[in-house]
Each structure stands twice: as C-alpha cells, then as structure tokens.
Amino acid sequence: MRQEIPLLITAIVGIGFVIQYFIPHWPFGKMSDWFSDWFSIVGACAIILGALNLLKVSIEKTYRRKEDWGYAAVIIASFLLMTIIGIAEGRGFRNPGTSFDWLYNFVYIPLSATMFAILAFFVASASYRAFRARNFEATLLLIAAFFVMIGRVPVGHTLSSFMPIGWQLSDLASWVMTVPQAAGQRAIMIGIGLGIVSTSLRIILGLERAHIGGGK
C-alpha cells in the first residue's frame, strides 16, 4: 500500500492533466490553474520546512563545533538578522528606505552580482579547455567558435569589410547561429519533447517507481 497509493494518485492526476489539455470545458479547463495555485500554496508552506532544516543543520554544526562551523554561524546570524528586521518593519518591509530594503539592496544584490560575475572567469577557463583541438570534433568546434566570436565583435566587421555583403565575418557568424546551431538545438528539443512524454507515460502507468523507492 505504501507504493500503491502514491502510484494511484499519480496515475489519476497524470491522466487528468492529459485530459484537461484537450478539453476546455469546465472543470477540465480550470484544472491547470487550480493545481498551479495549490502547488504555490504547498510550496509556500514547504519553505518553512526548508528554513527549519537550514537552521537545524547550521545550529547543530555550530553547537558541536564541527569543521568549518564558522560558516554555519554566519548563516544563522544572517538568517536571524533578515528575519527579525523583516518582521519588525511589518507589512511595508520592502518599501524604499526601510532597513530590510537597505540590506536587500546593499548586501544581498551585490553578493548575488558577485557570484554571477564569477561566471565570466569560469567561461574563460571552460572555453580554454573546450577549444583545444584534441580531435576532429573539437577542432570543428574551435573553428566554429572562432568565426562566431570574431564575427560578433567590431574588429571582425572591420577585418572583413572589403568583402561583399553576405560574405563578411558577421554574416558567417549569423549563418552558424541560425543554420547549424539552430538545427542542432531543434534536434535536441525534439528529443527532449519525446523524452518528457515517455517519462510521463512511465510514471503515469506506474512503470517508473525509482522516485518512490520501487523497481525490480
């Protein structure tokens, strides 16, 4: 029963969702909205579980002085600071000029932006590895990447400005992006679509049970 009931619920809801896509009549037409609303409600309630788990793990780590417990202490302090200030400022805690807003704008956003900025350096290191001409495919990738990159910067336009329009480096870069790149991406998208249908069918039919600990 531990597996059968979740499988039954999954099957009923899954089939219901398939049907609602084809039937606009009430109640099917509204099912998607209802489930979406309920998902948001359950998700909002579940955040408490997540926050409590984060606090529990961090407090335990700090209390037992486990390795790198300092990071856990920072998490607890940051969590409590934001929560207390948010609650103290009441309903308008996100209004401009509030302490919460100050922390959001001058602590949270710069920290997020810093993480995002690191991406630029990681792109450089990953490109360095990816564009090494180790074999035929990698060489092809290198050549394509070279033309796309040089075709998208002003110097590329300048270098090939003597060539007729349609044969300049920027045109070549556009062709790579709109023809071979788009074709490859669409092939991947078709595969993804079929994969989603196949996985959904396996789950609805109860064949796929790994997520509930089932299987052979």
């Binding site: 037409g29 579980l49 792109v123 078709i190 249908v197 790994a210 600990g213």
Partner: protein, 428 residues
C-alpha cells in the same frame, strides 16, 4: 448681406460706397449689442457641424458575432470590416465594442465591454465576461479622438449596425489540438507496444549511453577514495519534469551508494525537492537492506536563491572535496559556476539537463553529459528493467516518425506543397 454689398460695389462710386458702408454697419453694430448670441451661435454651430462631419470616422460595416471556439465558454468573438477611415493617419483611433443583454429578444442598454486599436478587426475576451445562459447584442463604434490647443479631448464617433443575438458556449474538445492528440496516441502506442514486447522476453537493443555507463565507476571511485558523492538536482521545483527525472535517477544512484556504503550528500534549492529527495533516499536505502545508513541530513536545504545556492554548493565542494558529483535537473547560469568548481577540485562529474543553453557548459566542464532526452532515459537505462527499456525503444520509434515527417516536409516544401507543415501547427 454679401450679395447686397456686391451690388452696391458695382453700382456706386467709392465715396457713396463708403457712406453706404457706414450706414450698413450701424444696424450690424446695434444688432450685435442688442442680441449678442444669435449670429455667433449660428456661425459656431455651422462651423462645429462642418468640423464634426469632417472629424467623424466612417462607421464599421459587416459586424458579425460568434461564440469563441475551443474555449471554456464565457467568450464571444466580434469581427467587423474596418471603417473606410481606418488607415495610417486616418480618422479612426480605436474601435469600441458595445454590448447589450437581450431582453425578450430585444437589446437592452448598450455598455462598453472593451476596445481594439485601429487596424484590428476583431475582439474577443477570454476572461469569462459573458454568461453562457444569456444572449447578447453587439455593436462597434469607430472612435476618433481630437485634442485642442488647451489639451482638451474631444471624441467623434460613429456606430455600426447591431449584431446578434448570440450566446457563448463551452466546448468539449479543443479542435486545434487534434494533431497533438494524434501524435501523443502514436507515441504512446509505440511505447506500450515495445513494453509488451520486452515483457514477452524479446531482446531490445539500446545504444550505450557513456554517461550512464560511468555511474558505476563514479560511485566506485568515491568508495575507493573514501569521499562523499554530491548529487545536485538543479534549481527547478517538483513541478518541473527535469527535476522529476533527476529524482528518479537519484533513486538509482542512492541504491548504488547505499550498497557501496558511500555517503551521498544532496544539497537542494527547493523545500519540496528536499522532502521528495528524502523519501527517495529512504526508500532506496531500505530497498538494498541498508535502512540504518540513511540519515535525514543527507538531504539538506540551502536556499531558494539561484546564486546563493551556487555559492553554498561551491563552498561545500571546496571544503568537502567530493570524489564524484552528479548534476541532474534544471540549471541556468549557475551550471558553469558549479561545474567549473567541481572540475577544479578534480571530482569526476556526470551532468544531465534538458536546458539546451546550459549543455555546452556541462560538456566543457564535466566528464560525461547526458544530453536532453538522455536525462529522461537515464533512470530506465540504469534499472535495466525490460519494461522500462521497452519504453526507450518506443521513444526511439517516435523519433523515427518525427524524422520521417521532417524529411517528407523538407521535400514537400521544396516543391511548394505547404499542407504538411500546417498539420504540425499547434495553438497554445
């Protein structure tokens, strides 16, 4: 007055004309002093009337009303032929749609229900603003809006003939999705057919997926090194198919790690994923007879924030130095931040996502990458169960049909036959 003055001009000398003109002016002045409104009002009415005629747009014609197709009711579509003044720089600014409920077959009071900009020739509201058991009449008003020098707004309108009565009705089938239904039925048939074939014992050839072949090796490596395995399920929530696929793969990986007695660490970005992943791990450990090895803390929540999560996971990677890292699920810009950090600590990395824009990053930074559909096939592949492998074969047959349709479509389009591509158009 003008003809009289004209005659005088021709008949009299200039001096006489001047005298006569002065005489003629007297009554006018007197008149304007005694009855100030009469002449001005006549003149202004006449000018306003000619201006109104000039600024009023021609009415729309052929107003038709119909129940909006393929909807849940509550909507009527109004169409019309545009006003003759509806052109660039013309007098029509917008079309105002007026509606009246039918009372004993006759229209009641018309009220505005919406508008369409000039150039548009239909209006429908899908917000359920009509009742399915009430009949309505419609008419469309062409509106011109003019501003004077003081910025005051004046409207010049012309109404169409009335159309109706009409009643909205809900439909039981979305006719424009019939192609999706046919495609889905065909694919389901293939999948179910090959599942039955596999159950009957027929050997099915499934191509090797390098990333999945490496899972055993990756888990074994962590065991030998005595280090952790990290499983990162992306930043999608449980309503995302990639996250669901990631959870099914997690079940297989958890079984292996439990068998090998290797610690599996699953930091998550969503609370609902945390709850689901805990259940998956608990069941996997029970299944291989190691329920004691399961701990709730194996799955722990970090944050819902994308870059906060990336920072948290990066920190764990750098401090814990795991031997193996799995990235399965939905990833955005954090994919390369995570994978490059994993690469820098020398972990064996297996990634899988159906986000085409993130695939190059994983391919560049990870040892193995499951591309698109391979993510969804991974769980079936790892299980080696015939019925699940059968579904993969059915999926491949579906791909064969799509491929054949593409080739046929290319041929037909090349020769100017466009009907086949129309069959694949889908309305959301």
């Amino acid at each position: 007055m003008i003809p009289r003055r004209y005659k005088a001009d021709r008949m009299l000398s200039p001096i006489s004309l001047l005298i006569l003109s002065l005489i003629c002016l007297i009554p006018i002045t007197v008149c304007s002093q005694t009855e100030p409104d009469t002449l001005e009002s006549v003149l202004s009415d006449s000018i306003a009337s000619s201006m109104e005629l000039d600024l009023t747009p021609a009415p729309v014609t052929n107003v038709t009303v119909a129940d909006t197709d393929n909807d849940a009711g509550g909507s009527i579509t109004v169409s019309w032929m545009p006003s003759a003044d509806d052109y660039s720089g013309g007098k029509v600014r917008l079309y105002r749609v007026m509606r009246a409920e039918a009372v004993n077959g006759q229209p009641g009071e018309f009220t505005e229900v919406g508008d369409s900009p000039a150039g548009k020739t239909d209006y429908s509201s899908d917000d359920g603003n009509t009742s399915d058991d009430v009949s309505y009449f419609y008419k469309v008003v062409a509106v011109n809006v003019v501003y004077n020098e003081a910025g005051e707004e004046s409207e010049f309108t012309s109404e169409s003939d009335m159309a109706g009565p009409i009643t909205s009705t809900p439909q039981w089938f979305h006719k424009q999705r019939i192609n999706t239904l046919v495609g889905m039925c065909l694919l389901s048939f293939f999948i179910i057919y090959y599942i039955a074939q596999a159950k009957a014992g027929k050997k099915l050839f499934i191509r090797k997926i390098a990333g999945m072949e490496a899972v055993d090796e990756a888990v074994g490596r962590a065991t030998e090194m005595g280090k952790k395995i990290f499983y990162i399920s992306g930043i999608g929530d449980m309503d995302n198919m990639m996250t669901i696929a990631a959870m099914t793969i997690l079940g297989r990986v958890a079984e292996m790690s439990a068998q090998y007695e290797t610690y599996l660490d699953v930091p998550v970005c969503r609370s609902m994923v945390m709850v689901t992943a805990r259940e998956v791990l608990k069941e996997a450990h029970s299944k291989v007879g190691r329920p004691d090895a399961y701990k709730d803390d194996m799955v722990h929540y970090l944050t819902d924030d994308q870059f906060g999560y990336a920072a948290g996971v990066d920190g764990l990677f750098v401090r814990e130095k795991p031997a193996t890292i799995f990235f399965m699920g939905q990833f955005y810009a954090e994919s390369l931040i995570l994978a490059e950090t994993g690469n820098s600590i020398g972990a064996i990395q297996i990634a899988g996502t159906a986000m085409p824009s993130q695939l190059p990053f994983f391919i560049a930074a990870c040892d193995y990458t499951l591309i698109g559909e391979e993510l969804f096939a991974a769980s079936a592949y790892l299980s080696k169960e015939p019925k699940l492998l059968g579904s993969l074969k059915g999926q491949d047959m579906g791909k064969g049909v799509v491929l054949a349709a593409i080739l046929l479509g290319v041929l037909l389009e090349t020769f100017g036959v466009f009907q086949l591509s129309n069959l694949f158009s889908v309305i959301d």
